[in-house]
């Protein structure tokens, strides 16, 4: 977003708490505690220039139209903006993320490869594409651009610690180094882009915490959670895994058209099963073709739960800020529709003769069991159409501060199965445009 603003002729002070290539002495700033379902909170955050893009896997996909629904989930409203609000910004995001194409339709898979996929025409499922960034390590990739820009002043190892604010705006911010030196920062607009845990933690640490007028600050923490319900015997060598489609770096997944949850199934070849071996699929009556056993994984759309939240502990870090505590609330009831979705997939694809399914996991994992996550920290400063149900408005502005904005997946009020990075970048592009316009800039043609 700093580069977007600089490209529009705006001056930006970019303050990075960590170093250029590593966290430096600030590694312990992120130390935090958890309760509820086990969550690898410390391992999922990186504190240096580029943030968690430094361990990003590169998966890219925009949210679908249905993800931007304003229909309530768990009684909480969804997005106050439609997909169309982000369409042009997704193009910009694809460029920043160095994705070769902005096409996510199945037309990218053609000919024999398309025909090799499962025929889903008579089912309530369809194919979707993930694309891949190199992946772009934003700090490393854009460091030179940041250094060379005359409009960007990038400071590292400098930490926002305090906002000086009135009831309606931020007047200045105090930034500090770990060795105790402080400076005061004045700006017309302040954007907090610290990540899905640090965004609420920083705001909760302020007196008269901004955006907490309805007690949603830090609440509704979400992540894509995994579930591996079983395996599928079907036609051999179907080009689902990444790298199987010639000339396109894509991965094909299966997702429901309209059923909830908006999760997806990933398919990866695995060893044949003794009980139903490949010979079985070769029987003329069954399929009369060579088969592969595919392990099925699910990337699941999370449900916002207010009790899933970031709070502050009494312990303070080196900057004097209270540390974060995550209570991850992922109840068994969130897995019930996930399991039902698998049952539907099994019934419809088995019924059409396209596959046979093995069902190995039929109940939610025990509270003490490991649940795979995406390291996608979402929802803790949720965007809303009303200050009664969120922290920021449709422009990412904190509801009760005129010049304070929050950027990142913490503003997502809901999410489908798509990874958040491209949408974060699109929101950054959109916020850059919004700030430029609010400063008197002209809209792009």
């Amino acid at each position: 977003m700093a580069l977007e603003l600089a490209n529009r002729g705006r001056s930006v002070l970019l303050v990075e708490g960590g170093g250029v290539e590593g966290p430096g002495a600030g590694a312990l700033i992120y130390e935090s505690s958890t309760s509820g379902r086990s969550y690898p909170l410390n391992g999922s955050r990186l504190r240096w220039l580029g943030g968690t893009s430094n361990h990003w896997g590169g998966w890219v996909r925009p949210f679908d139209e249905r993800d931007f629904t304003d229909q309530p989930a768990n009684g909480l409203p969804g997005w106050p903006i439609a997909l169309s609000e982000l369409s042009t910004h997704y193009d910009s995001a694809a460029a920043w993320c160095e994705v070769g194409s902005d096409q996510y339709g199945m037309e990218s898979v053609r000919g024999h490869e398309a025909l090799s996929l499962l025929n889903l025409s008579d089912t309530r499922f369809s194919h979707r594409l993930f694309r891949f960034s190199p992946p772009t390590r934003f700090g490393r990739r854009y460091r030179r651009a940041l250094e060379e820009s005359e409009l960007i002043d990038c400071r590292v190892n400098l930490n926002f610690s305090r906002l000086n604010q009135t009831d309606s705006e931020v007047r200045s911010a105090v930034a500090a180094t770990l060795d105790g030196r402080e400076c005061q920062i004045r700006a017309t607009h302040f954007v907090i882009a610290m990540g899905g845990v640090e965004n609420p933690r920083f705001l909760l640490n302020q007196q008269n915490a901004p955006g907490n007028q309805s007690d949603f600050l830090g609440r509704c923490f979400m992540d894509h959670y995994g579930f591996s319900p079983g395996a599928m015997m079907a036609r051999a060598r179907m080009p689902y895994p990444r790298g199987q489609v010639a000339s396109e770096d894509v991965m094909v997944v299966i997702a429901p058209d309209s059923m909830d949850p908006h999760s997806c199934f990933t398919l990866s070849p695995t060893r044949p099963d003794d009980v139903l071996p490949p010979d079985y699929w070769a029987n003329a009556l069954i399929a009369d073709e060579e088969s592969t056993l595919y392990r099925l994984g699910m990337i699941n759309a999370p449900t916002p739960h207010p009790e899933s939240r970031i709070t502050l502990t009494d312990e303070r870090d080196a900057l004097g800020l209270q540390r974060a505590h995550l209570h991850w609330h992922l109840p068994d009831s969130d897995f019930d529709p996930v399991i039902q979705l698998y049952q539907t997939l099994m019934a419809e694809l088995s019924g059409s003769g396209s596959a046979r399914f093995k069902w190995t996991k039929r109940s939610p994992p025990a509270e003490s069991d490991h649940v795979g996550v995406g390291y996608h920290h979402m929802g803790t400063t949720r965007m809303s159409a009303s200050p009664d149900t969120g922290v920021v408005d449709a422009n990412c502005r904190v509801w009760d501060r005129d010049n304070l904005f929050v950027l990142g997946s913490s503003v997502f009020p809901s999410a489908g199965f798509a990874n958040p990075t491209l949408t974060i970048a699109a929101l950054a592009s959109r916020l850059g445009e919004h700030l430029d316009l609010s400063l008197g800039g002209e809209a792009n043609a």
Partner: protein, 354 residues
Amino acid sequence: MHRRLLLKSAGMTLIGLQTAFLTGCDRASIPSESEPAQAIDLSPRGRLEQIAANLQGIEFVGPACVDEAMESDPLSVLLDDLPGSESRPIEERIVEAMSNDYANAQTFDIDGWQLSRSECLLLAGAALRQGLSEPTRERDQDLIFEDFIEIERWGPDETIEGEIFNEVGDGRGAFWVRVAEPAPASTRLVLGETMLATHFGTGVVTASLDPDQTQAIISKPGIHRVMLVDIATNNAQTLGHLTVRARPPFAQLSNGRQSEVFCEIERWGPDYALEGQAFNEQPDGSAAFWVRIGCAPNSAELEIDGRRLRTNVRTGLITARVPFYADLRKGDYPIDLIDIDTGERLQVGVFRIL
């Protein structure tokens, strides 16, 4: 649940205990090519018999379907239930029946595989036709298949040929069943046709098989039904199946010899991590490796760069925690599996700290 509904709808609650599985049976009932050609029976029953005789890949699933279908002549039942007129090709009618079954949740669960009722009847008929299982035979006392204990989990449900499942000493393989409520003291665990010595603890029922019987079970690939029987009431409750999988190929060691204890490694991970970060972070905050491997002895331990890790060996999976992950600096670290008993060393791969 589906099975229970199906049984009730078919009016069957009393059935006989039957042979779970016979491996190594010859297919004497299949005419050899040298036998004189016989007239081809083109009747629906004849065609169904031909299809059943030629079905491949049913060595495990066929006998299990015999167990589940609980019909003495499953092909007759299938034939009676097929949709459409007899003038249509029987293959079409079977496919339609299978499709209808899936739409109506009329499925059987065979070691997790969700097979349509019609499909399972066909496989059961095929198994009988091919001599893969003995016909159902009645026992002195009929069993009443009705759930009588709420089961939370049970195991193990698989092992590898020659490998004692959940060994409890003296060569005995053992099962555990976590129950939500105390089980009647008259409950026994039955594996195939064998009643096991059964013990009761708080929330758990355990049962073990004597060494000879354990060896008989694991000596060859097969699938064996596991159930609980209340010998006081004759109530029976199927838990599932113990699958004895064929032993995967043994791994090749770095000296070119074939391993005597390790099978080939399927995959492992993670293979890289960032300096200072807990990779594959565990609930206690430590890092951990996992190795999917066809077989490994319980005496196997994982090493990273010569440092032994506390290792957990399960069927098909080895895991090991790395408490000192934060001390690992940027660079490459060899990962090896060592068998403490034989001293064999198998290279797993190279782990890179970025």
